[in-house]
């Protein structure tokens, strides 16, 4: 499964109109092991800079990741 490291993150409390029902939610910029980066949605446990994360699924163009246990 594709893995990477959290480069930066934030928990969003004040959401745009289309995501209001999901707030608060966390997004992160992940640096993959091949050096590429993506802005992703975090599911489950909150993550911090330096945490290892893995890809879960892509849904409606959004990439979902979770902390590697």
């Amino acid at each position: 499964m594709k893995q990477g490291t959290v480069y930066t993150e934030t928990v969003i409390h004040s959401a745009p109109e289309q995501f209001v029902h999901e707030a608060p939610y966390q997004i992160a910029i992940v640096t993959h092991d091949d050096g590429s980066r993506a802005t992703v949605r975090i599911r489950g446990e909150a993550v911090h800079i330096g945490d290892r994360v893995e890809f879960i699924e892509a849904r409606e163009g959004v990439l979902y990741y979770r902390k590697v246990q």
Binding site: Y7, T8, E9, T10, V11, I12, H13, S14, A15, P16, E17, Q18, F19, V20, E22, Y25, I27, A28, I29, R37, A38, T39, V40, R41, I49, E60, G61, V62, L63
Partner: protein
């Protein structure tokens, strides 16, 4: 190239102005500017309008001739510039270039935004349109979220603290309280800023600029013509506009804005000055972290030292490098399309000695820095006493 001067300025007050429309605001600032310069509408050879999202905020397109004709300007080019929160900075840059090149002698540049007629989640969505709609915006990012991620990384790399971010907000509110045109004329404490409602962690509502209505205008002409006009002219010594990727995840290091550093380097070279020669500045504090990075990227403080520099009071009214004496976007307000030109108006007021309770003594040379999105457009302007 010809030397260009600012021959007049005009501003509306900034705020949640329910009784005003995008047209009434833009027309008020434009008319005040023409009156300030002592120029009639038929002397204006081109009209450049900065506006980010009039079509989304108020459902009006084709805005430049809409505004121009309202102030009596017809029969000349009237064009809208869109570059997110640097829309009127971009309009100013192109107007300056046109006058410098000899294409026109007299150009009116107005910036306007009418934002408060929409509810906050819709405002967040419209503003997010300045980000990359295929990546970060799709993931649920807002502009506060993008700058929150920048702040997190800056804190991680340089040890910047929330107290240092708060110091920026406290200082800008103190300045804005002295500005009669400011949106939020009240002082705040560090404790208030730290305990504000979270918007996107670690940023609270006190780290974010205001959603405002407002407009600002400047009249550009040659220095020779400006000397014969009604107001004391201010010389435009440099304007540089640069660009970069929209998406934050396309940048190698998000604790700096490459477009800002490039625009600053070009502007300093064009004006023949160094950061030490800048007496005061208006920088784009859309979020507190943006002011900290701006003062680093402009060379006022070393990289990573923007937080301690701010917390030590260096950027205050009585500091060594006063920044955002107007109150900045944080307190003066941020009608996004008006901000770039409003910053220029603030510089002119200081240089003319018209800044009232926030007047600086050392005010010969001022710099304005206007940022679009999370750094995909940047405009840096340097002006001096003529």
């Amino acid at each position: 190239m010809r030397q260009v001067a600012i021959a007049g300025i005009g501003k509306t007050r900034f705020g949640a102005l329910a009784e005003e429309t995008i047209l009434s605001l833009a027309a008020e600032a434009s008319s005040k500017c023409l009156k300030n310069a002592g120029v009639s509408p038929d002397q204006v050879e081109a009209f450049f309008l900065g506006n980010f999202a009039g079509p989304s905020f108020v459902g009006q397109n084709h805005l430049a001739p809409y505004v121009a004709s309202e102030v009596g300007i017809t029969g000349v080019p009237a064009t809208r510039f869109e570059a997110a929160c640097a829309s009127s900075g971009a309009a100013f840059h192109h107007a300056w270039a046109a006058v410098a090149a000899g294409l026109y002698d007299t150009v009116l540049v107005t910036g306007v935004e009418k934002m408060t007629s929409q509810p906050t989640p819709r405002v967040a969505e419209i503003l997010a349109g300045a980000g990359d709609s295929q990546s970060e915006v799709r993931a649920g990012a807002t502009f506060p979220a993008l700058f929150a991620m920048i702040a997190r990384r800056h804190m991680h790399q340089y040890g910047t603290t929330r107290e240092q971010l708060a110091a920026v907000a406290v200082k800008n509110h103190a300045n804005g309280a002295l500005n009669p045109d400011a949106h939020m004329r009240k002082t705040i404490t560090v404790e208030q800023a730290l305990n504000g409602k979270p918007v996107a962690e670690p940023l609270t509502v006190y780290d974010c600029s205001l959603v405002s209505d407002g407009a600002a205008a400047v009249l550009l002409t040659t220095i020779e013509r400006a000397r014969d006009m009604a107001a004391r002219p201010v010389l435009v010594r440099a304007v540089a506009q640069t660009s970069d990727h929209l998406a934050l995840d396309r940048k190698a290091d998000i604790t700096t804005f490459p477009a800002l550093r490039l625009a600053a380097a070009q502007a300093y070279r064009m004006a023949g000055v160094t950061p030490a020669d800048i007496d005061f500045a208006e920088v784009h504090d859309c979020f507190t972290i943006a002011e900290i990075i701006a003062i680093e990227d402009l060379g006022f403080a070393a990289k990573g030292e923007g937080g301690p520099f701010s917390a030590a009071g260096c950027t205050g009214l009585r500091g060594t490098k006063p920044v955002n004496t107007s109150g900045g976007l944080k307190s003066k307000g941020h009608p996004v399309g008006a901000t770039g030109v409003a910053q220029i108006c603030d510089l002119v007021q200081q240089i003319r000695g018209e800044a009232g309770g926030r007047q600086l003594e050392r005010r010969r040379t001022g710099l304005a820095q206007n940022l679009g999105g999370s750094g995909a457009t940047c405009v840096v302007t340097i002006v001096s006493e003529a």
